[in-house]
């Protein structure tokens, strides 16, 4: 059994294999905090998208994972940071179908729809940090409160 310390972690994102670790860690952490299956899958998928952005567009970075609580509710906060070129036009990047590479262009916008709170901090040439939070808040339908 893992303790609460098992939820907090800082994982490197430098290869495809690291993405597997990120997904597994987020899944375990979410399950441990009591997320339902659908909420877990959403959060893991969002983490997968964001971690891949960190890898592909940011040139690698890290994910910090920490449990959070607010008003009696428990949640999981994931923070993906890189020191890449940054996002020049955030509105454009969040638009569905917009892609700077060869992907579907659903990554950033899709990830935003999969979590409760979504925050991007990007400075040109200084890197990007995307922080997302999801709340357990009476599983299995955490999205209802939004």
């Amino acid at each position: 059994m893992q303790t609460a310390g098992g939820v907090s972690a800082c994982l490197p994102i430098h290869s495809d294999l690291d993405l597997v670790w990120v997904r597994q860690h987020v899944r375990q952490a979410a399950a441990q905090l009591g997320f339902g299956l659908v909420a877990q899958t959403k959060l893991v998928t969002a983490a997968s998208e964001l971690a891949r952005n960190t890898l592909v567009h940011g040139g690698g970075g890290q994910m910090e994972c920490a449990p959070v609580s607010r008003g009696g509710g428990q949640g999981l906060r994931l923070s993906f940071s890189d020191e890449g070129p940054g996002i020049p036009d955030l509105d454009q990047a969040l638009r569905d179908g917009y892609t700077s590479g060869e992907g579907l262009g659903m990554g950033l916008g899709g990830a935003r729809r999969l979590v409760h709170e979504f925050h991007v901090d990007s400075r040109q040439g200084r890197g990007t940090t995307v922080t997302v939070t999801s709340w357990v808040s009476g599983p299995p339908r955490p999205r209802e409160e939004q």
Binding site: V20, T41, K42, S48, R52, G103, L104, A111, R113, L114
Partner: protein, 299 residues
Amino acid sequence: MPEQVAAGHQETPAQEVGDFLRRRREQIAQRWADAALFRTVFTVSREEAVEAGRAVVEALAAVAAAERVEEQEADGFSVVREQLARMAASRSRAGSTNSQISVEVDALRMPVVDLLIAELEGRPAEDVRDCTTALTVLMGTLRLVVLETLLSAGQELINRQHLQLLEVATPVIKLWEGIVAVPLIGTLDSARSQVVMETLLDSIVEQHARFAILDITGVPTVDSLVAQHLMKTVAAARLMGAECIVSGIRPAIAQTIVHLGIDLGTVKTQASLADALGYALRKQGAHIVPQDPHHAGSR
């Protein structure tokens, strides 16, 4: 300047151990040849074991003489690292665990320490203690060097298995005349989905398949990249004249795909592999009729 207690030839304990090892090389190698580690690895002849032992003693002497008894990266070890790796790998193949091998390496320590203590008889207790400590540390470092080779061998194995997994995990199964299926399991990264696509397209040609089923029951996460790979595979199969059906989309994944905003409208999907097979059979004009016990012989 550190104060020199005696005149002239005063050596550090490590250097003294180095001299001792060089002087007693033959004797130590003979004793080690009977130790489990050497005896079990070099089964052909005892001389072979003694020869290997000499090389290790020589390396330890060089490390001690350079006063680097605590350093795994000391130059002396590089000469025997490959030999140690082969010995450790041989033990490992024979079924020993890393800790058992570590214990076997540790068993080499006592014969040498005994020799050293015998040789230092009559010397001040302090000298004896310093020298045996230096020797013990040196043998501990040897143990670490051996363990390190074992661990790096393990890493190589993992890398090799990762490559093997690419091939193993994508069997194409012929379900019926003209119907093939690929049960996808685990992570669909770019490398694996490339393999999947290739083997599927090959088997469509080989089996003259008109229907190809991609079952993703065993895929834990479907993000936009995985969805893109699926769509590409479906499109490629269509170009080959086969209809592709994606099955095994679990409820949680279905909801996630919707929120993610991916449009799988162009892809024919079915809830389960059985549904997909039923669909393909119907499209082929095959009718599945439950067997009637009274007319069993008429068909």
